[in-house]
Symmetry: C2
Subunit: 76 residues, 2 copies
Amino acid sequence: MKARVHVMLKNGVLDPQGEAVRHALGALGFDGVEGVRQGKVIELDLADGTSEAQVKDMCEKLLANTVIESYSVEMI
Amino acid sequence: MKARVHVMLKNGVLDPQGEAVRHALGALGFDGVEGVRQGKVIELDLADGTSEAQVKDMCEKLLANTVIESYSVEMI
């Protein structure tokens, strides 16, 4: 089984990487890009029987810095 | 309107970042993590009327390195 975890900076936390992408898109001539936020996606191959709660535990302990990042878990 | 872009290393391309995460999860006592791939997720705030084709163009030109990365676009 697989799980997909999205880790994004929380709203209000400055995202310089996203800002750089927004600026670069403008410089390339793409108009109408009003904002960009960049985050991480982590795809986990898990042994059968691993629960969503265990994946959330992994997020809390390692995958996300919960002070500035939020995460969401999707079992697929 | 918004678009979400996922950028992942193609299969067969070594992913040292994902390997490091897999190893760290094992060291923390999470058994049964058989593989980890880490990628980027980019959320774009777009002006109304921006088409999916334009977002794909952004991916080809800036957001993904199509030699080693694949991308998928989701309009939300």
